[in-house]
């Protein structure tokens, strides 16, 4: 295995959704690279396609109504879009994990944490036998032993994500946990299978700030302990600044800027990234000084011509509405931008 090759490479991914109102061009040429060990923050506003981009990696986009019309998604060098379903399932189980925004809807309310975690761990170990999952498993010695071991792993994982008294709490039902604790359970479940890639879709959006801080700290620790590569989807730039080492900014179905977190926050190049950062209420800002981005997010069904940001862009030029979307241009070490303002690579 080539350790220097990127873990995930999305190249020119195009996704359409067939809706009653017409074809929604949700992704229009997404390029994204996740190197091993990256914690990449994927930011953008509602409907920009960040969740769909992330879901393309485990190939979980609902098709239909979705349709991938172009591009490639490479996971560790393997073309995810071309794999047969059985192999794909294996890949998902062993090497990827997902965490979602709302921890309540992602735990089954009628099973205890133990049952859910043991099942998840067994499936990640590739236990194919139906015996392992059914009540009959309690009668089959090998399956019973497997479940007992999985349960030990589960308790250990719960301890590592900071659940007090895991041996006792594992028998609880999801409703007996608070939102922050449920999110910890889901994180434990996700990392229990020692995945290479962790996709976290707005993992702290539903939580209070003090709980968010706890979860983010846990996240940072686990990334180091388990050598995870993380794709963190969020609309909160504060969370990105605190957690990530790289950032990709999406707007209306494209990654418009990507780079090192300091480079993006200190020296944003794309007018949208600049606008987004200026729209944040931040330290030292007085009343009336906040700059918003005029207008609103375009519809993916009837998007603006050329660069999709041009109707809201303060630096709009004639070329922006006429030419097709600008290509991605490298600006500096680990900093790329897709904007007509920067047609030439910057001199070093």
């Amino acid at each position: 295995m080539d350790r220097s090759a990127p873990l995930v490479a999305i190249r020119d991914l195009r996704l359409n959704f067939h809706t009653f109102e017409g074809v929604a061009r949700t992704l229009v040429g997404v390029d994204l690279t996740l190197r091993r060990g990256d914690v990449l923050g994927l930011v953008g506003e509602t409907g920009c396609g960040k969740t769909m981009t992330a879901l393309s990696i485990p190939r979980l986009i609902p098709c239909p109504p979705g349709e991938i019309v172009g591009g490639r998604v490479l996971f560790d060098g393997q073309d995810v879009l071309a794999k047969p379903e059985a192999e794909m399932q294996e890949l998902r189980a062993r090497r990827m994990a997902l965490i979602f925004q709302d921890p309540t809807t992602n735990l089954n309310p009628v099973f205890t944490i133990e049952e859910q975690m043991v099942d998840a761990i067994l499936s990640k170990q590739g236990a194919r036998s139906v015996w392992s999952y059914t009540p009959v498993a309690r009668l089959v010695p090998t399956a019973r032993e497997q479940r007992r071991q999985a349960r030990q792993v589960a308790v250990e994982m719960l301890r590592r994500v900071g659940i007090p008294h895991p041996e006792r709490r594992i028998h609880s039902y999801p409703h007996e946990f608070s939102g922050g604790m449920k999110q910890r359970v889901l994180i434990a479940m996700a990392v229990a299978g020692r995945p290479d890639l962790l996709i976290a879709d707005e993992p702290t959006t539903a939580l209070d700030v003090s709980i968010q801080a706890q979860i983010l700290r846990l996240f940072k620790r686990l990334v180091q302990e388990f050598h995870l590569t993380v794709l963190l989807i969020t609309h909160n730039l504060g969370v990105v600044a605190r957690t990530c080492n790289r950032v990709a900014v999406m707007y209306a179905g494209r990654v418009v800027e990507e780079g090192d977190v300091r480079s993006i926050f200190r020296n944003p190049r794309h007018p949208y990234t600049q606008g987004l950062l200026q729209a944040l209420p931040r330290r030292g800002l007085r009343r009336g000084e906040l700059a918003g981005i005029p207008g609103s997010i375009p519809s993916p069904i009837d998007p603006p011509s050329g660069c999709r940001f041009h109707p809201r862009c303060p630096h709009v030029m004639p070329v922006c509405s006429q030419e097709p979307p600008p290509p991605v241009v490298p600006l500096a070490q680990d900093h790329t931008v897709a904007c007509h303002l920067y047609t030439e690579p910057f001199p070093p």
Partner: protein, 330 residues
């Protein structure tokens, strides 16, 4: 500011919700959502109410308008005790104090055109008939940055930000002196949030409005408010001018919340004070400080035994903490 008469003054306000259980759904206890809260809002200022979910900030906002009946305490608006009013009289007073709701998707009637939504308060209060009413509606819609053509559309045709503008236009219809804003931007994207915040700042300057701004977002509060009240489990734990809350907070909860707030700057990471545990229910027998179980500061016996009162430690800076009072901090 202190020599001014307050526009709104709340004294020892409480709102308890009964907890029902058992076979006949008898009350078995109560949730003290707002518990003995006192504060004042002065004309022309924006007072922020901050807290985590379950702190009682929204309940407080609604109780102030008597949209929820207070369990105890008094509310004075322009010197008049609102709790003594009949429902009909109260409704008339609400012309001076209107509310903007959190969710612009559920707070606008989907079957009404925008012109009717904005005109509804005028209809209810019997203000302005015929063409004068619609002149006012047109004026309002321009005031919030929308177009007259928008008046003949339905709410579903608008984006979240535009809907919130409609909600604000409706709240302004009766020329209120005060707006209670309940998380008006938390359902919106950042770029749109900035537009709405700027609109609120402009409107406040233009119309001399007073805001009671409820939010969990400290960044938004810092931008829009003059003074901030921090709530924890139904109580105000600290009340001070906005710079003081952010630069020199005294209560351990404020300090922790302040440090937990992620700044959009990769290098500006303050020392994080991590709070243990979560905002929890209140044990009915517990008489100590509500924050004591999570408090990272050195605990003294009084924290467990006695609820600290909200006291003015520096003029304009109110704190409810035994440690601050006894001078062990700062």
């Amino acid at each position: 500011m202190t020599n001014q008469e307050p526009l709104l003054e709340v004294q020892h306000l409480s709102k308890y919700f009964p907890l029902r259980g058992g076979l006949f759904q008898r009350p078995v206890g109560e949730v003290r959502a707002v518990d003995d809260v006192s504060f004042a809002v002065y004309p022309g200022e924006a007072l922020g109410l901050v807290g985590e979910s379950g702190s009682g900030k929204t309940t407080l906002g609604k109780t102030v308008l008597r949209l929820l009946e207070p369990t105890a305490g008094r509310i004075f608006f322009q010197g008049e005790d609102l709790c003594a009013l009949s429902a009909r009289e109260m409704q008339r007073r609400r012309a001076h104090m209107q509310m903007v709701f959190q969710n612009p998707y559920s707070s606008l009637n989907p079957r009404m055109k925008v012109k009717d939504i904005v005109a509804e308060p005028l209809v209810i209060h019997g203000r302005l008939g015929g063409s004068a009413r619609y002149r006012r509606v047109r004026e309002l819609i321009r005031l919030v940055g929308l177009d007259e053509a928008h008046l003949y559309r339905y709410p579903h045709e608008f984006s979240g930000g535009q809907r919130q503008r409609i909600g604000i236009a409706r709240a302004l219809a009766l020329e209120p002196r005060m707006l209670v804003l309940d998380e008006p931007t938390s359902a919106l994207d950042v770029s749109v949030q900035a537009q709405i915040l700027n609109l609120l700042v402009e409107l406040q300057e233009q119309l001399g409005l007073t805001y009671l701004f409820v939010s969990h977002d400290l960044g938004v509060i810092r931008y829009i408010c003059d003074r901030v009240a921090l709530m924890y489990l139904g109580r105000i734990v600290e009340l001070a001018p906005v710079e003081t809350i952010f630069e020199r907070p005294l209560h351990p909860y404020t300090q922790a919340l302040r440090s937990a707030m992620p700044e959009p700057d990769p290098d500006a990471q303050d020392e994080e004070i991590l709070l243990e545990g979560e905002i929890g229910g209140l044990d009915p027998g517990f008489r100590g400080c509500r924050f004591a179980p999570r408090c990272p500061a050195a605990k003294i016996d009084r924290c467990q035994a006695e609820e600290p009162p909200l006291q003015e430690v520096v003029p304009g800076h109110w704190v409810a903490c035994h440690l601050v009072e006894s001078g062990e901090e700062e």
